[in-house]
């Protein structure tokens, strides 16, 4: 028996698949792949799959993690190969590790965001210059207005023509979590001008200790 952490991309049409649907899709893919997956014991055995960090609908990712337990050890490339043969277009496994960290260790995530429109970089500057950014956010107690400014870090920003290209770092994980969609709709309200969201992609997951999560 051995645990593996599979790192995969979720792109293209797959961004419209919710987390719950992704779970079901992966279960079936593992079953199709012929990988020697481990099932839980008991009266209703089920295939063991775990996703350390959910991704919201509409967001792409190149760094999603999925944990699986196999009944025997297998070369990592082979696991990728079998799984990829069973995955739909837009889902693609590119790495397999032995898990080093646990879900509770996750602290933040990096996103690449591309917006298109006039005067967006000034708008972003003034957006960040605010002392507080109040936005509605899902919490365990329902929707609540909170200040997201302290959670928002712009690691990089540049423009290409009328495109604003941002690298954002947002808290992620069990303790504190900020959805990139919440940031973008708050920005939309602030900018008060039309723009297109060309790309929203999660590019890396980090641990609380600053190390990359894998």
């Amino acid at each position: 028996m051995k645990d593996y952490r599979i790192v995969f991309e979720k792109t293209g049409r797959m961004i419209y698949i919710s987390h719950l649907d992704l779970n079901r899709c992966m279960l079936r893919a593992v079953r199709r792949s012929g990988l020697p997956a481990w099932y839980t014991e008991g009266f209703h055995p089920h295939l063991y799959l775990m996703f350390p960090l959910a991704l919201s609908l509409g967001t792409e990712s190149v760094c999603e993690a999925m944990d699986i337990r196999l009944t025997e050890e297998m070369p990592e490339e082979e696991i990728c190969m079998h799984l990829n043969a069973a995955l739909p277009e837009g889902l693609h496994a590119h790495d397999v590790h032995t898990p080093q960290y646990m879900t509770k260790d996750i602290g933040s995530a990096r996103y690449e965001v591309i917006l298109q429109g006039e005067g967006l970089s000034e708008a972003w500057e003034t957006f960040l210059a605010q002392e507080q950014i109040i936005a509605p956010k899902h919490t365990k107690k329902g929707m609540k207005d909170i200040d997201i400014r302290p959670m928002l870090t712009t690691e990089e920003m540049h423009t290409e023509g009328d495109k604003l290209i941002l690298t954002l770092r947002l808290p992620a994980g069990n303790e504190r979590n900020l959805n990139v969609g919440v940031v973008l709709s708050a920005f939309g309200k602030h900018a008060d001008k039309p723009f297109l969201t060309k790309k929203v992609c999660r590019t890396k997951i980090f641990c609380i200790n600053g190390e990359e999560f894998f």
Binding site: S18, R28, V30, P45
Partner: protein, 610 residues
Amino acid sequence: MKKKLESFLLDVQKPSRYCGGEVGQIVKDKEKVDVRFAFCFPDIYDVGMSHLGMKILYSLINERENYWCERVFAPWQDMEEIMRREGIPLYALESLDPVKEFDFVGFTLQYEMSYTTILNMLDLAGIPIWQRERGENIAPMVVAGGPCCCNPEPLADFFDLFILGEGEEVNLELMDLYRDMRDRGASRSEFLRAAAQIEGIYVPSLYDVAYHADGTVKSVTPQGHAPAVVRKRVIVDFDKVYYPEQVVVPFIEIVHDRVSVEVLRGCIRGCRFCQAGFLYRPFREKSPETICAEGRALCEHSGYDELSLSSLSTSDHSRLEETLDEMLTYTAQRHINLSLPSLRVDNFSQSVLDKITAVRKSGLTFAPEAGTQRLRDVINKNVTEEELMRTCKIAFDGGYTQVKLYFMMGLPTETDDDIVGIADLAQKVVDLFYDMPDRAKGKLQVSISAATFVPKPFTPFEFEPQMEKEEILRRQEILRRAVKSKRVRVSMHVSDVSQIEAVLARGDRRLGRVLYEVWKNGGHLDSWEEYFDAGRWYAAFETCGLDPAFYANRRRDYEEVMPWDHIDYMVSKQFLIRENEKAHAGVITPTCREQCAGCGANSCLGRACF
């Protein structure tokens, strides 16, 4: 198109209903295919994707390298609003190409309440709704198949042609003819005249209908060489019939989220109310070897963990136990649930129950259909109270605590006693449970579902009036009052829907105007309670000067020309009349396996059915 869609998909519920890309979908190069077929299901994705017939025909057509079949579903209201606002036409999920560009636009007619959705989908596609307005261009050819084609008359003015009976052979014959004629530059009407010569193809525009002064049909006259009677198609060697090895595996949860093998077609029972029991005759079954091979292939290719052995009555398979034994050896090892959705009360044995509970335990459903033995004899539902109790006992011994009982109300000859009988029967099930000393822990839940009876074509009850709404309401109240136990729950249908259903099921061509009127006034997705508006329907009847009671609540003579008399589903009218007379005399008819009742369906086999 793709770009345009992408900017809206995040604004709708369950966007993956609208973007395709599932495992198992077939994508071809449109430059390299000869004929494109848009398979349209007139309901939303979640419902349509559960439909077995669509899965079969989708794969069957796509097996042919130069033909490409794609899927189309009705959008839910949120998506429709966006499509209309942004000018996005109805498109197919695989290519995202507009349906209007296809050669065939084929609808499946599964239930009458989907008819208005068909009109709405044609409109969303930008295809003229009335057949006569489509011009002489051969494409798109708007066609339909499925059980409601047994009386397609209310839809006659909207469709180019109907495909009667089983589609596995005739669909390809039709597409072959189309390809040849299109390449020779044929027009729509030339193609339709030629298609009418294929057995099983009904071209409604080639028939003239005349009416008597009282509104009944006087005659249906074919033009030119169109056949006077169009016969449905039947697959003779059912064990060898094409069956898909892979299906499209949806991302979202759908109504029946599993793979299924169709283990048999037809039914030996002859319940007199049941249209499917007559439409799909004769009875044919697959061998255990075929069933198991198909089941294994589907599980392996799809990754599903539930396999169902489906049919109208799976326990009538002559080699069911053997099939289950072999199938279970495979499924148990791979953690696959095996489900048998249509078990019958009378031949449901302990060993069959053991086999399915070995995998999963869920609620049990039984359909006694009527509350007393007298009425069950009338409808030829040959289930006795003892059989029901014996089966419930087996089920309770096996740990089941939920029982669903299905009944119908407003059956021919029904009296108040028969209604009270429904409550009595449920009470007996409750008593049985609580009299068992070693019953399972937990509370018993018996639910009664009582639907309003709808007389359908090609059944012995096609002559019967549907009970009037006021009388149904009175009887529903009797049932509600007759139920005493808190362990029994009753659910009943809205009777307006049943009346509309009854009108459409046995209606004639004049109803096309009613459908159009309802649709024009905003009616579609009428199979969804939240969208069905009885007022809209009754207003449309009024506008068109037609009386729904004429269609639904009138007794028809044996001599009356039915609107579908030029359609032949292989059960003869004489047989239906005989069965109707026996019903009124309370005489049962044995199953086909016991004794042939001479319905005529065996003529396609060229031998006796058994």
